[in-house]
Amino acid sequence: MAVLAHAEAGEIAARLRAISLPGHQDLREPENGLVMLRGRVGGDGAPFNLGEATVSRAAVRLASGEIGFGYTLGRDGQKARLIALCDALVQSPEFGAAVERDVIAPLREQLMIRRKQSAEETAATKVDFYTMVRGEG
């Protein structure tokens, strides 16, 4: 599900169009709020409160009873609702495999491509102290 939090609402919605969705309703209308983000003293010690982040959340129930929760950073209630819908669908024996295949897997692949690109750009700025020593001129 972490993949969905990293995607845009539009991307999730577009992928979901491949699936003929079952009936569902909002158990919790999308709402915006805050989550206090915590760090740790020294990175690995006791927790402390760093500052808050905006978070949107929703809950969706399928006609067949499965309940999905959607939470995401930001204030995009539609995205929270779509995540909740996917969360509910994943639990359904009928739709679970399709959501994984048509929604989550392609979004995961996109995310990995973006991350790989970023990692390669970062890697190019890594200092190689030995280059000068090794230079055979």
Partner: protein, 371 residues
Amino acid sequence: MYVAVKGGERAIENAHRLLANARRGDQGVAEVSLDQISEQLGLAVDRVMSEGSLYDRELAALAIKQARGDLIEAIFLVRAFRATLPRFGASEPVDTGAMRVRRRVSATFKDIPGGQILGPTFDYTHRLLDPSLAEGFVPEAPATSEASSAATPRVTDILGRDGLIETSPQAEEGASVGDLTREPLNFPADRDLRLQNLARGDEGFLLAMGYSTQRGYGRNHPFVGEIRFGDVEVEFAAEEVGFAVPLGSIELTECQMVNQFKGSATEAPCFTRGYGLAFGQSERKTMSMALVDRALRARELGEEALAPAQDEEFVLSHSDNVQATGFVEHLKLPHYVDFQSELGLLRKLRKEFAEASAEANAPDAMKEAAE
């Protein structure tokens, strides 16, 4: 009195209209978009998020636009906005060790596992104004090279393995995490509250405080153990879900200062630490924060606390730029009645002074007259 208030209302309304026009500037010039602010003035957005204490790039960009680029005003706007939303809870503490690092440097060791990674930095630029940026600048695509899958452990963890550096303080079982947005700050404050205060504190104030320790006011011999910037995953244990749900990732900068060692009859000497953490790419902020965090540990480490940066009440009470600006800027609001009473008092004192000196001079005057 009421007449003045009514006249004031219209003046205020018109002043705000004028402000809206001044904010927009010459309407022949294209309006700046929130995306432009977020993408091209990203470090201003980072600062507003950190000191506004709210991670939301879009809102911070809006605040900067509304504040005409006055970052303290923007921080004020963000703080006011966050008061309008309910809090769902607190996140799981983020794991900066698992950061997808985009910059990571250490001043203490040349060869660190994972390497020195410069990332997008101003360091080593010549600080010469670049006329090519004035218009239509298209940068060269970033260079790439094969990314290593090697871990990038914290430098302090490496020192920690040999026991050369103090370990981070651990929370007691069931201890609650102090939150100065919920309970007013009391002194002495624990480290969790001090770090929360510093994390939202004014960068300029912390910079000056940190600098003062370097110049000898509470010296603590700092080295940058490590600065890292990158993406960190956030998880939230939602009550009704029953387990931690992923919220997405945020950008964080972390600074670990390694400071002068301490020891005692019973404890072997080891390095001490100061810690800085902030939203976005906020290197100067986290470095200053780490210096001040360390300085504020004087009492705990049995050091003499004589310098301003070591004075917890002084630092923590004056670090918040929204509080500070509120109190300083309120001075320009009408104080007509206060000032009238001061005037009255002053006139009375002057009259008394004049009378007293007249009395004191009177014999002399007579003497002069007699001569």
